[in-house]
Amino acid sequence: MTTATATVPRAPAQSRGHAVSTFLHHHVWVRLAALLSLPMLWLVVAYLGSLAAMLVAAFWTTNAFTGAVVHQTTLDNFHELVSQSVYRKVALRSLGVAAGVTVIDALIALPMAFYMAKVASRRARQLLVVAILTPLWASYLVKAYAWRVMLANGGLVSWLLHPLGMKGPGYSLGAVIITLSYLWLPFMLLPIFAGLERLPDSLLEASADQGARAWRTFRAIVLPLLFPAIVAGSIFTFSLSLGDYITVTVVGGTTQLAANVIYDNITTGGNLPFAAAAAFFPIIAMLAYLLAVRRTGALDNV
């Protein structure tokens, strides 16, 4: 009885809150809109909107003297990009670097991840994961400049290679591939490690019971099951390498990559429309890569 009288004064407030929740309960779409409107606004306006604005800018041109953008639709930028052989050369070089870094990272990450997931003790595994994650906490620039010092004349790399009668790569395309491979290794290693952890040990044992040797087990059991993980890692390493312009300026010597052409046209040339047109290349290359990956079926279970 007392509880009933006590609730009476609070009833209007409660019922108002109740009404709102009832309303939301019955109107799924309103609920969803309220929940998603902010993230969607971010995605569409800030994220895709700025991307689209950039792509539209590719069809504009600039005033040669002041560098001010002239809003006049033209295909000149694309014509320039296609007709000048230097841009083809730079594009091919960039694809080569991205592919090279991806392959090197996959070759390093596979045995490392296998050791971490299947061989190492629990404690060692935790330590290794920490060891791989720690460099991600350090600034990208610090790591790139560390490699600049190591690759310098008489630096660590040439000092290590000297007794073997070899010379370091100096500041060159090779130095870029080495540095990028180092920078992006965790992005390849972690997906493969996660993939291997999900791979039941019993499969490996069964394969061994059937008399398969290590290589056969790897090729017939591990690799097919791991393929989606490798692809996931390769998407990271490929796209990150394709978009990089800082490592190239730090250790690349005279090398320029696609992202440098974009960057130089913004900072040096002051030609935003041309930079936007040049940005089509990495976007198209990435889309083509994703489509190719999709055809292999690697994304089906992601």
Binding site: L55, V56, A64, F65, T254, V302
Partner: protein
Amino acid sequence: MSRLPRTTGAAFAGALVLALSACGGSSSGGGGGGSAAPAVPKIPMATQVGAGEGELDLVNWAGYAEDGTNDKSVDWVHPFQKATGCIVHDKIGNTSDEMVQLMKTGQYDGVSASGDATLRLIYGGQVAPVNTSLVPNYATIQPFLKDRSWNSVDNQMYGIPHGWGANLLMWNTKSVTPAPTSWGAVFDANSPYKGKVTAYDSPIYIADASLYLMRHKPDLGIKDPYALDQKQLDAAVGLLKDQHKTVGEYWADYTKEVQAFESSNSVIGTTWQVIANLIAADKKVSVKAIEPSEGSTGWSDTWMIAAHAKHPNCMYKWMNWITSPEVNAQVAEWFGEAPAQSLACEHTSDKTFCDQYHAADKAYSDSLFYWTTPTKHCLDGRGNVCTDYSQWTQAWTNIKG
């Protein structure tokens, strides 16, 4: 996952429509990339300098706003802050192009612009005319730096001259023998220093090659390194492509050149005096920097105030501070350039400094080829047959390959 392309496509289309509708209003105007200089935008000029706003945001060349972090004895920022209450935030611009881009953001109050940036800033409406009567030290600036084509329009000054000097040839005295006397040392395709040559990473460096061609290939008919027709530009590009094979790396960031020389990754190349001074101060390698026999390209810098400066009073105070005899002498000695302030010569620690840099020598000053923006309308008066800066930029990408 198989729905990915459709959703992505729809999102793209939606975003594109959004962007197009957003831009529709402004898609007219602009008026084509014409060559003739457009009218100067009307920007109001200050009529008085009030109390400082407490902050000052600068874009400047390395070495122009020293606060003692590079060398404890080199500090004219802290005394300025003490005297005016304006806290200085300086952003180093590595190239003129970068400075123009930074000024376009509208976040800065002023810039130390070279001649290849000044006119772009004036005609782009990024900087305001300067009321020189509000800068007392302007009166004693070297007369041959006033009302010049790169710092004024119709006898209206757009800044206060700061200093000027030449781009130099620097080499490591231990690795490079005999000592070079000509720019030929960096333009030799069979250079014994292959892989250790360095060059400035900016399209404006094409002028260095055309200056060399002007002296050594007279039949090309180059009169001004910044006024090149297509044939002359092609010749300069050819020379720079040959040079590219010997270049170890290009530099735009001055710290990068310091480090490359100190690790002997570079042993010869173009430089500024301030870089040679920094390397000398570190004492890791021994270098020498000279102006070669062909003469040099150079710069003449001007402090300009942003059209919409948030701290205009502090900027006016800074322009007066940096051109005061004592401070201008300090900057000039640190950077290695001729001071614009005629009275600065009495305040240099090395009394022969101004003579070394020909600070009062108008004839010498006129013999340098100052950085300026190449335009379609030839700077040497040949008409509309020249290549403009956007062509130089494309050519520079081509040279780097």
